[in-house]
């Protein structure tokens, strides 16, 4: 095939590779090769350096399928993804709509975004202090204002994970408001003016103007949420506290990877096992991202 690119771009494959090579090399070494290696390790039983990995085929996966701990972690991860996701997107949209007409918009957005730059350990400490069963700020507040009946053992087994999700929603809503608001702000004002002239209700404006015109941004946001939800580790790990292992009732997939493969108070160093869970995470992200792109791609509108 004849090269018809302009002369200054002619040898750009070669020139560009000089530009890309450093980033690509590091990326492949630090991200891609280890990912592949993780998949491979997931088919072995291995305690780490000094021990030789023994190929065990799908044993690790079979073991996971039967493990209550794994399914607990899996379900909690999915709970963050789905329940947390619905809440995050609901609040993000609600706030975006409300903030459009509020004067302190920038200030509020900055406050809501703030948890995203705070170390998750600090957030986890704060969240723990808030929800402690006795002495907790929330219960203390409720008692102070006379709402004693509303106090709960927020960290009891039936509530603890909802409390964790609530914490994540509190943290991430600010982030997604920011993204969605940017998408909404891109929509030219005249669409809304036209809708107003036609007498559209706020709900109609949301469904007929805002949603279709922010669809591509929403698709990016949804992908980011999937990644965020499945990756979330620091907050949950630190929420269980340091110095002891996080309670098994708060384990998610990444926490379990850490607990079985990397460390813990009484470590197992089951690298094969941990890699199998990590592989499940990668597959989960992959499948969901592809799914979201498929579902949301068609409806992109140019304006």
């Amino acid at each position: 095939m004849k090269d018809v690119s302009p002369p200054h771009l002619r040898h750009n494959g070669r020139r560009a590779s000089a530009f890309i090579a450093p980033a690509l090399a590091i990326y492949l070494t630090i991200i891609m090769a280890p990912t592949v290696a993780t998949v491979w390790i997931s088919f072995t039983e291995w305690r780490g350096i000094g021990d030789s990995p023994e190929f065990v085929g799908l044993d690790n996966y079979r073991h996971l399928l039967r493990s209550d701990t794994f399914w607990g972690s899996f379900n909690r991860t999915m709970a963050i993804l789905v329940a947390g996701g619905l809440a995050v997107f609901f609040f993000s949209f609600l706030f975006t709509m409300l903030l459009r007409e509020m004067r302190a918009k920038k200030f509020i957005r900055a406050v809501l975004f703030f948890p995203n730059i705070v170390p998750p350990v600090a957030l986890a400490i704060a969240w723990g202090v808030l929800l402690a069963p006795r002495n907790g700020l929330l219960n203390g507040f409720l008692e102070t204002v006379g709402l004693d009946f509303a106090t709960r053992t927020w960290l009891a087994p039936d509530l603890i994970f909802r409390s964790v999700i609530a914490g994540l929603v509190w943290i991430y809503t600010g982030f997604f408001i920011t993204i969605i608001m940017a998408g909404v702000d891109r929509i030219p004002k005249h669409f809304y003016e036209a809708a107003d002239l036609e007498g559209a209700t706020p709900r109609q404006k949301l469904f007929k103007v805002t949603l279709p015109l922010t669809w591509d941004v929403l698709s990016v946001a949804a992908v980011l949420w999937v990644i965020t939800a499945i990756k979330t580790f620091e907050f949950i790990y630190a929420f269980g506290g340091s110095g002891t292992d996080p309670s098994i009732s708060t384990w998610t997939l990444p926490v379990q990877v850490y607990a079985v493969a990397l460390g813990n108070r009484s470590p197992i160093f089951a690298l094969g096992q941990g890699s199998a869970i990590a592989t499940v995470m990668v597959v989960l992200v992959g499948v969901l991202v592809i799914l979201i792109r498929r579902i949301m791609r068609r409806k992109v509108v140019e304006f």
Partner: protein
């Protein structure tokens, strides 16, 4: 603003009410976030034995030594230095390789740019947990565990995908004439790049901030790839402090540590929040 459709009184009241409750809700959320921060800051000045007794009391004495304790326990001079080295170094090096890569991917029009861009984007979805085991083993093999260079390298690796993603957004938004003008004037690829680079300075600043904040708060890699006290970063330091504080039940000291860690972030944030927020949105909406 004019509306053609007339609303009945009850509809109008309903709408007003809806808007007011909505705004109230927003302010409650904002207040809640600020109140929690305020409580932590105040608690850092309280006494350990009364801090949970009287939740809403103001500090009755200035327990500044909480901060001294926290400072020592966090080993703050050391951990801050380590964090600045690894986060600063990691961010600078990430941008140093991500910017040319993003430039080449968007502006050099070579075949394969698009699949390569996707390949980089793929990395955003890879959880750290999926790489950390082989990464740890591999870095051990080359003696880069428990080593700030090794950690910096790992930080580069995990930051590159997002940085490239953000920077391609910024580069894509530049007009191609500028580049062509440079080419016409006889500039080679490096020169053209150096002419284009200042044009994406806002993008560089925003991307650096986002990468740096992410790394500053990171602790899994630091926890697994280093173990030595002298190699601890501030994120791991806070986690360890949390652990130690629980054994000694020095809650106010813990709050003081949190406050110490938050202070630079709050200052940075009040100063730079617009940049951070806008930088993020360019990446997501372009």
């Amino acid at each position: 603003m004019q509306t053609i459709v007339r609303l009945s009184l009850s509809q109008r009241i309903g709408r007003l009410f809806g808007r007011l409750t909505g705004r109230l809700f927003v302010w409650v959320w904002v207040f809640f976030s600020l109140a929690m921060l305020a409580w932590l800051i105040l608690a850092a000045f309280k006494r350990n034995n009364t801090v949970f007794r009287n939740l809403w009391a103001l500090p009755d004495s200035n327990e500044a030594h909480n901060f001294q304790d926290a400072w020592d326990l966090l080993n703050l001079t050391r951990t801050t230095l380590n964090s600045i080295l690894t986060v600063g170094g990691g961010t600078a090096l990430t941008m140093a390789v991500a910017a040319p890569a993003a430039y080449a991917l968007t502006r050099m029009g070579f075949r394969g740019a698009s699949p390569l861009t996707s390949l980089f984007a793929l990395g955003i979805g890879v959880p750290v947990h999926a790489i950390i085991i082989p990464l740890f083993v591999g870095l051990s093999e080359v003696n880069l565990t428990n080593n700030l260079w090794g950690l910096t390298l790992a930080y580069m690796g995990v930051s590159i995908p997002f940085a490239v993603f953000l920077m391609t957004g910024f580069f894509r938004s530049l007009p191609s004439e500028l580049e062509e003008a440079a080419v016409m004037e006889g500039a080679g690829p490096l020169r053209v790049f150096s002419v284009m680079l200042p044009l994406v300075r806002p993008g560089m600043v925003a991307s650096s901030l986002i990468v740096a904040v992410g790394l500053w708060n990171e602790f899994l890699l630091a926890l697994v790839l280093t173990y030595d006290e002298s190699k601890r970063t501030i994120g791991v330091g806070l986690l360890n402090t949390f652990g130690a504080m629980r054994y000694t039940s020095n809650w106010v000291g813990l709050f003081a540590s949190v406050v110490i860690m938050l202070t630079p972030l709050i200052i940075l944030y009040t100063w730079m929040s617009r940049r951070i927020i806008e930088g993020l949105t360019v990446g997501a909406t372009k």
